[in-house]
């Protein structure tokens, strides 16, 4: 049904892209299938799990609730954008590694993007604020406490505050 394809221009992880998509295609499918960015996961079909969380113009969204066409002309960042090009982990990723904030790792990309957005808005969140802001991201493995600690670690170790812990 090529006639119904729509051209979208999305800046993804800093690169401009132009793709023809089906109008019904979800952003998460667009990222995974058309751009092979397989780090963004799908864990549900009712927008509950948050495994698909990405940043859209800097704000955390569940990419399974956004159509690819809605991202036209906008900027998307995925988990693949977090580490340096040589693979060095950023502060938040280090926090998850240091505080054992992941087990199977399937929820992790979504958690990281939700936490990126949280820390951008609130660089020093309390444990309660972290728990509340992650309400839309389910993890079946960790029991959450170590995720909360991971975010605290990142907050305490962010650039310029090294060595406080």
């Amino acid at each position: 049904m090529a006639a119904s394809l729509v051209e979208v221009h999305i800046r993804i992880n800093g690169s401009s892209t132009t793709t023809e998509v089906e109008p019904r295609q979800l952003l998460v499918q667009h990222l995974r299938e058309d751009h092979h960015l397989r780090g963004t996961h799908v864990g549900c079909d009712t927008s509950n799990c948050g495994a698909c969380t990405v940043l859209l113009d800097g704000k955390a969204v569940k990419s399974c609730t956004v159509l690819a066409v809605q991202a036209d002309g906008r900027e998307v960042e995925t988990v693949e954008s977090l580490a340096a090009p040589d693979g060095t982990l950023n502060q938040l990723q280090e926090g998850f590694r240091f505080e054992h904030g992941l087990q199977c790792g399937f929820c992790t990309p979504g958690m990281l993007m939700a936490c990126t957005s949280l820390l951008a808005n609130n660089p020093d969140p309390s444990e309660l604020e972290i728990r509340q802001s992650l309400e839309g991201n389910l993890c079946r493995c960790t029991g959450y406490e170590m995720i909360v600690r991971s975010v605290r670690w990142a907050a305490e170790h962010r650039a310029g505050r090294e060595g406080e812990k």
Binding site: M1, E22, R24, Q25, Q29, R32, E33, H36, L37, R38, G39, H41, V42, G43, C44, D45, T46, N48, C49, A51, T78, V79, E80, L82, A83, G87, L89, Q93, F96, R97, F98, H100, L102, Q103, C104, G105, F106, C107, T108, P109, L112, E127, I130, R131, Q132, L134, E135, G136, N137, L138, C139, R140, C141, T142, G143, Y144, E145, M146, I147, V148
Partner: protein, 784 residues
């Protein structure tokens, strides 16, 4: 300093944190280029006769490659999965005559894209003549409607429903069970049906080339999948390669491959193209195997001074639509019936029954949480009846500390334990008496938000033996004088951090830094056999195997280096920095691994077919028996008497899993386990309406807790090494789940016990608690 016992950070993490996890649906293997996508058409009725399936319209939809029904499937029929279930109850790959649960796959659509496959699946018309649905254990037992008329009954397991006369060894004891008891308390308890809900659902990808099938599968057990899939295809195990990469959570339902997984491989052969499948969450919640689902009758008898003399446990297990692993789970429940208590007389019986619901298999704990929940509820009821503190009643009945095997009257042989110390440690850590004081204060002052305190002591089974596990340790020199080790294990981790744990063990033995050790699992082309990851077995089995193989490599290395070091083998020691060997009395002269490998090569000890000198040893570790972790949990809850709302304030957990290899990993396992256990007590329940329609088929309906729903956990440390394996380790994957559920349930009941309530079934949602408060004698808390 030894690396063992330290919190080494995980070697698994960097990849996963960069979003590079190799989950089945994320694979980019070129073998899978040109794949078609599978989508299953599922039954919308719980029970019915299939009159016909019309695939013609679906076949004409865009992108569709094939539509298959049972008429096309030429796989070898599967045997029934439950021990001793009748042949007629075997599950078909796709049903030909009857559908038996909503969500059961009835046809398979292959198309170029997932969206096209899903669209076409909508156009497959399944004509079904409805039959009466059998929903719930009681309906199943009535045999009014049969799921398998040929079997003549819905009962399906070898367990014949007869009592073992007290314990298995007391068949000829003719005294009455409750002889000498001042009182006997009886109760019916529901251990509700739960869903595993790994965040990654089931997924498979397969390619059939030249009579060889390669299948990637999201599984807890690569080699189990290989044998089951090979059997279905009539292939030899050599014609089948199973690859398990990263797995996004298991929790039990991914132990066995599902019919959908098997059909993916089969379809790849039929259409001559690779096939990929990943289920949606609503498919997952209506067709992946589920867990628990027991109806239990307990009776506990003892003396007024708090001594329990006899316990009876009568189990009715819901098998779901087909008897699979779940039909056999009461075996573990019966074995563990007496828990950590020294009870003179225990008798149990069990029956499993098919119903028109999702089949039951293992879910975190698998048969043991059900046992703990039953005996712990019984202890509480007994305590309430004789008006004694529940912690005190437990203390009076615990098996005293033992380091020689202890056999219970229900037939378990515990390896070693110190249950009383565990309980005392957790009571102290929790300020138990202080909470009791606060509870009294609130009650006396008529607070509307009351406090409840729950206590659980438990013992469980891990690493069930007799069993074996495979390991291979390969040490290779680089051109540049470096050394690397590669470890192969038959365990199949999916989040436990086993790669890190195994690397620690090998590093400790060989002195090779963890950063130079790689771990592989789950590919049957490089790992010949394996027991997978289930029943909290991986570290004790896989770790012991790696330890054995690494020690054999070390022995070869010492042999090779002995001459150069001018030392008898017993005087040679391992150096970590730089990695190598030295003579005990000349620590400044180190022979590095690169040199050792050269020497080993000269001595003919190395592999002959590798470019660089390589020492390689395979080992199969075996064990005779299981290990029995134990512990105690205390939960504190606040209950709102006006709304029934429950808030979990505190959960104190002492989980003794023997020697701890990596405290950080152990903590993670406990946290995750506790969260799932708490969630059974407070939130989760798979529900069906009276027509067998699932009403918890999405994550909007099935209550998986978020970070906002749970508190921090208070862990109490305890280590009693087991003599059962060289690591001294017991399993830690399920303890948290087993201990926390009864503690939390107990705490909620305790909060309202002064109002005449002595039991409420789980999950203790505000509605259920409010209903019980509204009418303490009603059995509304039992429904669902």
């Amino acid at each position: 300093m030894s690396v063992l016992g330290t919190s080494v950070r995980r070697i698994e993490d960097p990849r996963l944190l960069r979003g590079e996890g190799q989950y089945v649906d994320s694979l980019t293997d070129p073998l899978l280029d040109g794949s078609v996508r599978a989508h299953f058409v599922r039954s919308f009725l719980a029970h019915g006769q299939i009159l016909g399936i019309d695939t013609s319209e679906a076949l004409s939809m865009p992108g569709v490659t094939a539509v298959f029904t049972s008429a096309d499937v030429d796989l070898v029929p599967a045997a029934p999965g439950g021990a001793g279930a009748p042949e007629s109850m075997a599950r078909p790959w796709l049903p030909a005559e009857r559908v038996r649960f909503v969500g059961e796959p009835v046809a398979m659509v292959l198309a170029e894209t997932s969206a096209q496959a899903a669209d076409a699946a909508e156009m497959v018309f399944v004509d079904v003549d409805p039959l009466d649905p059998v929903v719930g254990i009681v309906a199943g037992l009535s045999d009014e409607t049969l799921l398998f008329p040929a079997a003549g009954t819905n009962r399906n397991s070898r367990m014949d429903g007869g009592w073992d006369r007290f314990g298995p060894d007391r068949a000829d004891d003719d005294s009455p069970l409750f002889e000498g008891c001042d009182l006997v308390v009886r109760r019916t308890i529901i251990n509700q049906r739960l869903a595993g809900v790994s965040i990654e659902g089931r997924a498979s990808a397969a390619v059939f080339l030249d009579g060889h099938l390669t299948q990637w599968i999201s599984s807890q057990h690569a080699h189990g999948a290989r044998s089951q899939i090979a059997r279905a295809h009539g292939l030899s195990e050599e014609q089948l390669r199973v690859i398990v990469g990263d797995v996004g959570g298991g929790f039990g339902p991914k132990i066995n491959p599902s019919p959908e997984d098997v059909l993916v491989g089969w379809a790849a052969g039929k259409v001559g193209r690779p096939v990929r499948w990943a289920e949606t969450r609503s498919e997952n919640l209506t067709s992946q195997s589920q867990g628990r689902a027991q109806l239990q009758h307990v009776a506990i008898g003892g003396t007024r001074d708090g001594r329990v003399l006899a316990f009876e446990l009568d189990i009715r297990q819901d098998s779901g639509a087909y008897p699979l692993l779940g039909s056999s789970l009461p075996f573990f429940t019966r074995r563990m019936a007496g828990g950590p208590y020294d009870i003179e007389r225990i008798r149990t019986r069990a029956e499993s029954v098919v119903t028109n619901t999702v089949p039951i298999e293992a879910y975190r704990g698998a048969g043991r949480p059900e046992a703990t929940a039953a005996i712990e509820r019984a202890m509480d009821l007994f305590a309430l009846e004789i008006d004694m503190d529940p912690a005190e009643v437990r203390r009076r009945n615990l098996i005293p500390a033992f380091d020689e095997p202890f056999k219970t009257d229900s037939g378990a042989v515990y390896d070693c334990g110190d249950f009383d110390s565990a309980l005392r440690a957790v009571l102290a850590a929790s300020d138990y008496e202080d909470w009791r004081e606060k509870q009294r204060f609130r009650r006396e002052n008529q607070w509307r938000r009351v406090l409840g305190v729950g206590v659980c002591t438990y013992v469980e089974i891990t690493g069930s033996g007799p069993a074996t596990e495979f390991a291979r340790v390969v040490v290779t020199a680089g051109d540049d004088g470096s050394v690397t080790a590669e470890l192969f294990t038959g365990a199949s981790p999916h989040g436990q951090g086993l790669h890190t744990a195994l690397a620690m063990i090998a590093s400790e033995t060989l002195g090779i830094p963890i950063g130079q050790i790689r771990v592989s699992h789950g590919d049957t082309s490089t790992v010949p056999s394996g027991g997978g990851t289930m029943g909290s077995r991986s570290l004790q089995m896989g770790g012991s195997a790696i330890r054995g193989a690494a020690r054999d490599v070390l022995a070869m290395a010492k042999q090779a280096a002995a001459e150069e070091l001018e030392a008898p083998i017993d005087d040679i020691e391992v150096c970590e920095d730089p990695p190598g060997l030295f003579r005990a009395d000349t620590p400044e002269r180190i022979v590095p691994w690169a040199r050792i490998l050269e020497l080993a090569s000269d001595a003919g000890l190395t592999e002959s077919d590798t470019a660089l000198p390589t020492l390689s040893v395979e080992d199969v570790y075996s064990t005779d028996g299981a290990t029995y972790p134990f512990g105690a949990h205390v939960a504190v809850v606040e209950v709102d008497l006006d709304t029934g709302e429950v808030v979990l304030l505190k959960l104190f957990a002492g989980d003794d899993a023997g020697r701890i290899l990596n405290p950080m990993l152990a903590e993670g396992q406990r946290h995750g386990g506790i969260a799932q256990g708490v969630s059974q007590a407070l939130f989760e329940s798979v529900l069906y309406d009276d027509q067998g329609n699932p009403i918890t088929s999405t994550l909007a309906d099935y209550a998986v807790p978020s970070a906002a729903d749970l508190p921090d956990w208070d862990l109490v440390a305890m280590e009693t090494p087991t003599p059962m394996n060289p690591l001294g380790a017991k399993g830690i994957g399920e303890s948290g789940t087993i201990g926390s559920t009864p503690a939390v349930q107990s705490a909620v009941v305790d909060a309202v016990s002064h109002l005449g309530i002595d039991h409420m079934d789980m999950p203790l949602t505000s509605f259920r608690v409010w209903s019980a408060l509204a009418d303490p004698r009603s059995d509304i808390s039992r429904k669902g």
